[in-house]
């Protein structure tokens, strides 16, 4: 019997996944549980396992193609067994596309209108080949049908007069980031507050701990690790910042799961990833540091699990290593707040009437003003400052 291998669903929000690499060729034998294909969805590349043993009879979605969740991507069965004629077709892809870009709050009728773009098959194919959203092209054919000529004219009109070095299709991780970022900016009432922290205590602490563990041949802790630890404590005490707006309700989390934005350069994944340190409030600094390194390594090699990269309640992003002193991050929607960490720079400040050189660090909190007002956000920051300057221990 022929078994369908379908595009798996890894999360509630996942609509489609991208075929990254087929690990087996058509005609090759596979055994149940053996990885058959690499699929990328929601920034994660995952190996999909064979649901049955047999021969990989047919691959119906080529590499780099996006496939809706639940659609067959291959068939497994006995050699020579006939397979259903399924191809993840152009039209399907285009319609999916249309559905995905339709803004969430458009009235239903308009949304349906957008889905029903009249276009010739050739126009659709050309638009797809050139990476153009066909809904943007005005049609001049009968009944407003988008024709070959319309697409070619659109391409001509939008031709860049500037020399183009390369054209990079936005797909996979970067596409998810793009959708995520604009959704966040469109949805959230962003507000940001900045506060200066004297980093003397954490500089000293990091130097001490790193020296200890580097002596054991391990990599030291980072300021980000320390910030995770401190923020976890401050969040536990100011839980409103550790929340998400779900429809008409604000869900305040008990778990403190802190995502850390990292720039990953790896064979299997590259770009912005957000590994999530679960229960950060219950872990020691070293545990946080170990966990963070492990997840990043898994992501780099394509072995990250879905849990590694989802389920966050708050995010920290640090650009201090580039010398950036202050920046305003975009909230990792649907979370409520994000902390932007700047560089630690020695500066003169006045302590008891005297100039003193102190390592200073700016922290910026972007928060969703729909659910958190200025005062509670400020209280969280005030608490965080005190933890970092006076209380934190490993």
């Amino acid at each position: 019997m022929v078994t369908d291998l379908v595009m798996p669903r890894y999360s509630l929000t996942m609509k489609k996944g991208t075929i990254i690499k087929w690990l087996k060729e058509e005609g090759e034998p596979v055994s149940k549980g053996e990885p058959v294909v690499e699929v990328e969805a929601d920034k994660v590349t995952t190996e999909v396992e064979a649901p049955a043993s047999g021969v990989l009879l047919k691959i119906c979605a080529q590499e780099q193609r996006e496939v809706p969740v639940g659609k067959p991507i291959a068939f497994i069965g006995e050699p020579g067994e006939p397979v259903p004629e399924v191809e993840v077709g152009v039209e399907e892809a285009v319609e999916e596309e249309t559905a995905a870009v339709a803004p969430a709050r458009v009235p239903e009728r308009e949304e349906k209108e957008a889905l029903r773009v009249r276009a010739s098959p050739l126009a659709r194919k050309l638009a797809e080949n050139h990476g153009i959203d066909i809904t943007l092209i005005p049609g001049t054919g009968p009944g407003g049908r988008v024709t070959r000529e319309d697409v070619l004219q659109y391409i001509e009109l939008h031709k860049d007069i500037r020399a183009v070095k390369e054209v990079i299709p936005i797909r996979g991780i970067q596409k998810t980031i793009a959708e995520h970022m604009s959704l966040s900016v469109k949805t959230v009432a962003h507000c940001s507050i900045t506060l200066q922290v004297d980093a003397s205590r954490i500089v000293e602490m990091r130097r001490r701990i790193s020296a200890e563990i580097e002596a054991q041949g391990k990599r030291g802790v980072s300021y980000t690790d320390i910030l995770v630890k401190a923020a976890a404590k401050a969040l536990k005490e100011n839980p409103i910042v550790n929340s998400t707006l779900d429809g008409e309700q604000l869900k305040v989390f008990d778990d403190v799961n802190i995502g850390v934005a990292v720039d990953v350069e790896g064979e299997k994944a590259s770009g912005l990833l957000v590994p999530v340190i679960r229960h950060a409030d219950q872990r020691s600094l070293l545990e946080i540091s170990e966990e963070s390194k492990a997840i990043i390594e898994r992501a780099r090699t394509g072995k990250a699990t879905h849990e590694d990269l989802t389920g966050g309640t708050f995010t920290i992003t640090n650009l201090g290593m580039f010398g950036i002193e202050t920046f305003v991050p975009i909230i990792n929607y649907p979370e409520t707040a994000i902390l932007g960490v700047g560089a630690i720079v020695e500066k003169p400040i006045i302590v008891q009437g005297e100039f003193k050189a102190r390592p200073l660090m700016n922290l910026t909190l972007s928060f969703d003003h729909r659910v958190v007002n200025g005062a509670p956000a400020a209280r969280f920051m005030q608490r965080l400052k005190k933890i970092l300057e006076e209380e934190i221990t490993d």
Partner: protein, 466 residues
């Protein structure tokens, strides 16, 4: 409402391009004059497509009964009553001319007999058969005077032994031997007709293959078919002279690959490209731009003079009746301000011999020259059950596609019903289907049109019956 003019539109020439322009103009509320010096229906109806098609219908029947091994029909002593065949041809013509006459009256078109000469951009001088003259004043002029038989330098057409196609259709006796000069559609059709009627036929074509304007596989395949049919084909052969001899025959000399070819034949038929009838129209006086005698028009059928339009053979390019019809409609609609445009890309080319040949769009070579990443899908009729049932083996369907987009660039067919099936291909191209849609459309079984579907599937190597 012609305002200061007696007519909104004056059409010169009542051939298929002209009378269609007149009818469409009338439908759009214009006051129309239609000027014709000879017969309604022009070349197509009187001396071209229609009489040829009636003779081809008879020729096909003759060929059908001549293959008992295929049909199981033994018809002994089949004789041809050429008188009767000619009478039927004339009856068909006269019936269709009556039809055109009826349409002209029905649409309140003023028929003006006589030869029209353009004397100003709004005036046409009419010279009647009896020598009388009158001048017609019109806001817009549509030139639809058509083309005439070629006048080659190597022979003098006497319509006795050296014939034009028009003369060949009026012929009273079937010649024992016939040399057809020109191996494009017209030449092959006439060769086929006279072969069926019993003539010994030879074709001479200057180009390196038959059907030189079409996809080369059509010409190559047809050359084989004609040879099987016992028609001698000389390609890459330039006729140097054809002269009537005292013995009542014609001496023909030609050069093929550097060597001289001499032969004697009863009759010679000149079936090369037709000439534009721009002479004596008065075009140069009013400044209508021409190229090699053909009138230059844009996609709206407009000439270089704003209110003067031209349609049909006189504009060169695809000299087909159906192109003239399309042009006539476009011209009329532009005069009425509707802004239509002609699209030559989807005009089919058809040859009505058996098996039929038909083509639309670009040939494989043209597509390559235009820089497409060409992918071709082919399906031979040998693998078609419908063709087999009909006792036909010759032919194929060929779909030329752009590899990147799947755009159908051209379709080329040889086989039964090819001239009808090509309409499906043209529609697919017009509606911008890709090979994907054409190949996934369910075609009735058993039909020859399945071959087109299979050829479309072959583009992505998904043919079933091969």
């Amino acid at each position: 409402m012609a305002g200061p003019f007696s007519y909104d539109v004056a059409v010169i020439g009542a051939g298929i391009g002209g009378y269609v322009a007149a009818i469409r103009s009338s439908q759009l509320g214009k006051k129309v004059a239609l000027i014709e010096k000879d017969k309604l229906g022009g070349t197509c109806l009187n001396w071209g497509c229609i009489p040829t098609k009636t003779l081809l219908a008879t020729a096909n029947l003759i060929n059908e009964v001549k293959r008992p091994e295929e049909t199981g029909i033994h018809a002994e002593n089949v004789t041809i009553d050429f008188e009767r065949i000619r009478a039927r041809k004339d009856a068909v013509i006269s019936r269709l001319v009556d039809g055109v006459n009826f349409l002209i009256r029905k649409n309140n078109i003023q028929l003006v007999p006589g030869k029209g000469t353009i004397v100003s951009k709004n005036h046409i001088l009419i010279q009647k058969a009896n020598g009388a003259e009158e001048t017609i004043e019109a806001k817009n002029i549509v030139i639809a005077v058509g083309s005439e038989e070629p006048k080659p330098g190597y022979a003098e057409i006497d319509e006795e032994r050296i014939l034009s196609t028009r003369g060949a259709l009026a012929i009273k006796d079937i010649p024992k031997s016939l040399a057809v000069i020109g191996g494009d559609i017209m030449g092959i059709e006439f060769a086929y007709i006279f072969k069926a009627f019993g003539s010994d036929v030879k074709i001479f074509e200057e180009a390196s293959s038959l059907l030189p304007t079409l996809d080369s596989e059509l010409g190559r395949t047809y050359q084989r078919i004609l040879k099987k049919n016992d028609i001698e084909v000389h390609v890459a052969t330039e006729v140097k002279s054809a002269k009537a001899r005292l013995n009542g025959k014609v001496g023909l000399s030609a050069v093929s690959k550097g060597s001289l070819l001499e032969l004697e034949t009863d009759k010679v038929l000149i079936a090369t490209k037709r000439r534009p009838l721009t002479r004596e129209l008065g075009l140069e006086k009013i400044g209508v731009q021409t190229r090699d005698g053909f009138i230059v028009v844009d996609e709206h059928m407009r000439t270089s003079i704003l209110n003067i339009y031209a349609v049909g053979d006189i504009t060169g390019g695809k000299m087909f009746a159906h192109a003239a019809v399309a042009g006539g409609i476009v011209a009329a609609e532009n005069i009425a301000g509707l802004g239509s445009a002609i699209n030559y890309k989807t005009i089919p080319t058809c040859m009505y011999t058996s098996p039929e040949a038909a083509s639309v769009g670009l040939s494989e070579d043209e597509a390559k020259q235009e820089g497409y990443n060409v992918v071709v899908g082919k399906f031979p009729l040998l693998a078609s059950s419908a063709a087999l049932a009909m006792g036909e083996r010759e032919g194929f369907a060929k779909v030329v596609c752009d590899g990147e987009s799947g755009e159908i660039l051209g379709v080329h067919l040889i086989g039964p019903h090819a001239t009808d099936i090509i309409a499906e291909a043209a529609l697919a191209m017009k509606l911008e289907c890709t090979a994907e849609e054409l190949g996934s459309l369910i075609h009735a079984h058993p039909t020859i049109s399945e071959a087109l579907m299979e050829a479309a599937r072959a583009v992505s190597k998904k043919t079933i019956h091969i």
